[in-house]
């Protein structure tokens, strides 16, 4: 059993879905994504939670350039695979109430994007990683600009150029590594070994920046975030969920897997700067989020703040930070999908996302109110919700690095609580007005999605050990292999 099943099933599924008509395409896409989740479940059941990389596929792809189709799953990848395979069926289910034009193309693109992201999360070869990275970008470009809001064309091209620019620099970095690597290949573990044996010592800074740019834009880290709020707002909600729920984790994952282990010396040099950027991003995004009246935009900014904390935790480079980031990536994925779904429901019923115009929905839609509340609490990291574990570990990690950074970064929890609860209050509580009086409560597929999300939020909050257990050996191993000079 190799990871190739996991990668190629969505590709085949995407091709198959193209041949279905609108309504059936929807069901087919859901079916295939659930199958994919089941397969991921089988992988998880067979996964040994040690530090090894499992289910490896390794066949020559372009032999002249020593490029291999080399992919496998270790603890860190496993969490990301779970995140991807879990969220995609949920996201497809959230679209059940929508009637997209050319639905078959829409769902095919989503499945194709899933394949690209799974490649990113499992690739052990630099070239493959890059191909997956871009293969995930093209579908989301089309999803956003074909099914997005009014200004979609201009904004999506901005998003595309931004991320494409970042990834091209990463491509240069990958080629640079290839030229320097002792065995002249793109193999990740060879690169790790080469770095540790001091083979690649000079110009680590160049490689660092080449990769960092790509990852920072994708996450997005302040000040590379300017594409994000617009794109999140304009994209169709399924696209926004794919972007924020899964795609931004590609940047975080890239930092853990590629950037820091391959350029440890440059990382020591720039670590301080990156963490400062991350902390600035946290405060900045929180403050902006506070002033937003558009619900989707508010969530977009809160997402920047959350990712900032994840980045800070990773760049502090210790066990808590990495473990925290694993949990937080999963939690953030679930919460943000829930949050965008909430706004999708509101805007598709009422035609507006303006917080100031809403109010009193809790009175007319109690089930909706409960789900909304649980998701809000998960996002603001209340203990016993999934957000808490991750943020706690991440803050702990930043604290170990520098206490003042931790203090400032800790504001994210307070800020988050302030703007999230304020949003909840404005939307759900108070008196109903003309607009919200006829708000229909959730039913059917909406109820299923919200139910699953709420269960996940609470169960992961109570028993995070499930995730920590999968990734802990791999994280320890990574910390052990990658010796940061002057630190350990």
């Amino acid at each position: 059993m190799t990871v190739s099943i996991l990668i190629f099933l969505p590709v085949l599924a995407a091709l198959a879905v193209l041949f279905f008509k609108n309504e059936t395409a929807k069901h087919a896409a859901l079916f295939f994504s659930v199958v994919e989740l089941a397969i991921a479940g089988v992988f998880l059941a067979n996964f040994k939670p040690d530090a090894s990389t499992q289910f490896i596929i390794d066949t020559p792809w372009i032999p002249q350039f020593s490029i291999y189709f080399d992919a496998g799953i270790d603890g860190i990848s496993m969490v990301m695979v779970l995140l991807t395979t879990l969220l995609v069926p949920l996201i497809i289910l959230t679209t059940y109430k929508h009637q997209y034009k050319n639905a078959n193309a829409f769902y095919a693109l989503i499945l194709f994007m899933q394949a690209g992201m799974l490649v990113v999360f499992t690739a052990l070869d630099g070239f493959l990683f890059y191909v997956g990275w871009e293969a995930a970008l093209i579908p989301i470009y089309f999803i956003c600009s074909l099914w997005g809001g009014e200004n979609r064309v201009r904004i999506t091209i901005k998003f595309f150029i931004y991320t494409f620019a970042g990834s091209l620099f990463m491509l240069l970095g990958i080629i640079f590594l290839y030229i320097q690597s002792p065995n002249s290949n793109y193999d990740l573990h060879d690169l790790y070994a080469a770095v540790q044996s001091q083979y690649i010592t000079n110009r680590q800074g160049v490689v660092f920046w080449a990769f960092f740019l790509a990852f920072a834009i994708k996450m997005p880290l302040f000040p590379f975030h300017t594409w994000q709020p617009d794109t999140y707002t304009e994209a169709p909600s399924a696209g926004t969920m794919m972007l924020s729920g899964i795609m931004l984790k590609m940047g975080v994952y890239g930092c853990i897997r590629w950037l820091i282990p391959i350029t440890p010396m440059a990382m020591v040099t720039y670590q301080h700067m990156v963490i400062i950027l991350a902390v600035i991003g946290i405060v900045y995004a929180s403050v902006i989020a506070f002033t937003q009246t558009d619900g989707k935009r508010l969530v977009a900014y809160s997402s920047i703040a959350h990712v900032g904390l994840i980045a800070a935790g990773i760049f502090a480079w210790n066990a808590q930070g990495l473990q925290g980031s694993m949990v937080q990536m999963l939690s953030h994925g679930i919460n943000v999908v829930g949050m965008f779904f909430i706004w999708d429901i509101i805007s598709s019923r009422l035609g507006t996302r303006d917080i100031t115009k809403l109010g009193g929905i809790a009175k007319v839609a109690p089930k909706f109110a409960i789900a909304f509340l649980i998701i809000v609490l998960g996002t603001v990291a209340l203990p016993l919700t999934n957000g808490f574990v991750g943020e706690f570990l991440l803050l702990n990690s930043v604290y170990q690095y520098n206490i003042w950074f931790a203090v400032i970064a800790g504001l994210t929890i307070i800020f988050g609580a302030v703007y999230m609860l304020r949003m909840y209050k404005n939307v759900m509580q108070g008196q109903t007005n003309e607009l919200t009086a006829t708000f229909a409560d959730v039913h059917g597929s909406e109820k299923i999605v919200l139910c699953i999300i709420c269960v996940l939020i609470i169960s992961l909050g109570i028993y995070p050990q499930f995730i920590l257990h999968i990734s802990s050996a791999a994280v320890e191993n990574l910390l052990h292999t990658v010796k940061i000079p002057g630190k350990f």
Binding site: W61, I62, P63, Q64, F65, F127, Y130, V131, E134, A135, I138, F142, S145, L146, R152, V153, I157, F160, I161, F164, A165, L168, F169, L171, L172, I175, F176, Y178, I179, V206
Partner: protein, 460 residues
């Protein structure tokens, strides 16, 4: 060699067919003839690994030549298939079209297999003279006449440079044979100024031929003025062959003295990328955009010569193939769209995605490939060129290349945006079966090469 003979005899046969008014037989005969030529070339593949120069060292038909001949022949077949019903609309003398295109192809075969400067010159001239005629073949069209005249003047001018360079190189090395020049350069430590001047003049001449900045001024006007199919031929087949010829000369004769010409070429490449891409941004006409985009692709192709090494030939082969098949799709679609709307501006693509999903899809694939997006052939080509220059640690050049790749997104995606996101009522274009075949084949090849480049990579 047999390939060359077949391709030289074929146009004469075609002219006779034209004489006896057998218009219907033209295309089948041409295609069959070309397939025979292709078969003859490919059959020699195994032996060609150890090929020796023939005809007193005039020609060396090795795997390099076979690969480039094959690509030129296949591209020509694709272009000729698109010509069904196209030439009839603009002229009565159809046989001449086929004949002249094939004469040009004969020159191209010489250009990719020469082993002596005189043969290179003859090849270039056979190709160019045919192209001068083709550019002006719409006799009553003002733009077409302008294109032919401009092309002829510029071509003659550049040939002057080239010849002068050849003479100077001959003057210092005493040989026209590539081997002779190579040996002379190997034996001597000090390069006389005459040789250096000669090399630079040859460089200038060849830069004119491949249309890179600052020697590119003829390209947009000629490409715009010529009939679209001829433009397709010029910007794919003849450009590929010119680069192959360029590479063969410099990789055999002058690799040791790259310090003389390589700085100049780096500057030419940077200029080409910026001028090609930035000017392409401002075009309103799709055809003119393709002209400028072909200039910028010539810039990327130059990287293979700047980063001269063992894999340069392979890089040019893969890049040129990828670029050419994508361009053929673009030109094919352009012809259809122009016929239907009477305009070749970006706006004439508006709403194509709704009415002609197939056409829109293949054009999208072509544009993605030209922009160098992974899983298309264009990306593999771009990856190889980046690899070459990174090997020489020309990081600054690589960064310039990346910036230009980003700029190019704007104008390639403009087409995609027009097709899918600018909803406009338009009539459905009837896509003839020949077009479906050629465009579908080219788009499929783009994807297949992008996913599994091993198919054409590593041949040479």
């Amino acid at each position: 060699m047999n390939t060359l003979i077949v391709i030289s005899v074929l146009p004469i046969v075609l002219l006779y067919l034209g004489l006896y008014k057998m218009q219907k037989a033209l295309l089948p005969v041409t295609v069959i003839g070309l397939l025979v030529a292709l078969g003859l070339a490919v059959a020699k593949w195994q032996d060609a690994a150890f090929a020796a120069p023939e005809y007193h060292g005039m020609i060396l038909f090795n795997q390099f030549s076979i690969a480039f001949s094959a690509v030129a022949i296949v591209l020509t077949i694709l272009i000729l298939l698109l010509s069904k019903g196209y030439f009839e609309k603009i002229s009565d003398h159809i046989a001449e079209y086929y004949a002249i295109i094939l004469f040009s192809l004969a020159g191209i075969i010489v250009m990719v297999s020469y082993y002596n400067l005189t043969m290179l010159f003859i090849g270039i001239e056979i190709m160019s003279v045919s192209l001068y005629i083709l550019a002006g073949i719409k006799k009553n069209d003002f733009a077409s006449n302008e294109a032919a005249l401009k092309y002829f003047l510029m071509g003659a001018f550049s040939t002057g440079f080239l010849l002068f360079g050849f003479t100077l190189v001959y003057g210092s090395t005493g040989s026209f044979a590539l081997e002779g020049i190579q040996k002379w350069v190997l034996d001597h430590n000090q390069m006389p100024p005459m040789l250096c001047t000669g090399v630079i003049l040859i460089l200038v001449g060849l830069c004119f031929k491949v249309g890179v900045a600052p020697f590119h001024f003829w390209t947009p006007d000629v490409y715009e003025g010529s009939p679209a199919l001829i433009t397709a031929f010029m910007s794919t087949v003849s450009k590929t062959a010119s680069f192959a010829a360029f590479l063969r000369l410099f990789s055999i004769c002058f690799p040791l003295i790259s310090n003389i010409w390589s700085p100049a070429l780096v500057i030419v490449a940077i200029l080409t990328l910026f001028i090609g891409n930035i000017t392409a941004l401002y075009q309103q006409s799709f055809k003119r955009m393709l002209a400028y985009s072909s200039i910028s692709h010539a810039g990327y192709l130059l990287f293979a010569i700047v980063g001269l090494g063992a894999s340069s030939a392979n890089t040019i082969f893969v890049y040129a193939t990828a670029y050419s098949i994508a361009s053929i799709v673009a030109f094919g679609a352009l012809i259809l769209v122009t016929q239907s709307t009477g305009s070749d501006s970006f706006d004439s693509f508006n709403g194509l995605g709704k009415k002609n999903p197939f056409l829109a899809l293949v054009v999208t694939i072509a544009m993605l490939s030209l922009a160098g997006i992974p899983l298309t052939a264009g990306f593999i080509g771009k990856f190889f060129t980046f690899n070459l220059i990174m090997r020489k640690y020309l990081i600054l050049l690589a960064i310039v290349a990346v910036i230009n790749a980003i700029i190019s997104i704007f104008y390639y995606f403009r087409v995609i945006v027009a097709m899918y996101f600018r909803g406009e009522e338009r009539e459905e274009i009837v896509v003839p079966p020949y077009y479906v075949f050629v465009l579908g084949f080219a788009a499929l090849a783009t994807i297949v090469i992008g996913v599994y480049p091993q198919l054409i990579n590593g041949l040479i």
